[in-house]
Symmetry: C2
Subunit: 102 residues, 2 copies
């Protein structure tokens, strides 16, 4: 199952490190506890919509951009799941049995 | 503030009605209470990632597509907010006062 919070956490952490910000700095800017942000980044906690908006502000990234990046990551995961799924075997037709009048 | 759950609710409801499904049918397919789905569609409750995955399955729409549609809707909201924001007034330069030797 592809989980939104996991891809979201990856994108948020990636953006934070791209900006060279520490968890503490984002925690201060977004007014969210450091431990909570850390759990969100690891995909262990769901972020409420209000918290997500605060994090986007702190990371100077519009929510729409975050969601597009998450959508792209999720699409890759979905494709990988399809590729890994066992190929369904076409059911063999039952052999035609000639009717015999015994 | 642009809230993820509001746009998500709109997209999920729109998809359900496009498919001609009732809340009861989606509730049965996704194994989520009818009232909860209704609250999610109205943007009043956050959907957990597991619930979101179940809803996507029930609505036969990949999560990545849902997120792309939400991202597009959020981008429109963001643009509307920027357009509605008051134009900042450029600060006037202080008038130059000629130095006078009194």
């Amino acid at each position: 199952m592809v989980l939104f919070r996991r891809s979201l956490g990856d994108i948020l952490r990636s953006r934070r490190t791209d900006l060279g910000l520490t968890l503490r700095e984002v925690s201060g800017a977004a007014r969210v506890s450091l431990g909570y942000i850390s759990e969100i980044e690891r995909g262990q906690k769901e972020a409420s919509s209000e918290l997500l908006a605060s994090l986007c502000d702190a990371l100077e990234m519009p929510l729409s951009d975050v969601l597009r990046e998450v959508a792209d990551a999720v699409a890759l995961e979905e494709a990988a799941l399809v590729a890994a799924a066992p190929t369904p075997i076409a059911p063999r037709r039952a052999p035609v049995v000639a009717a015999s009048a015994a």
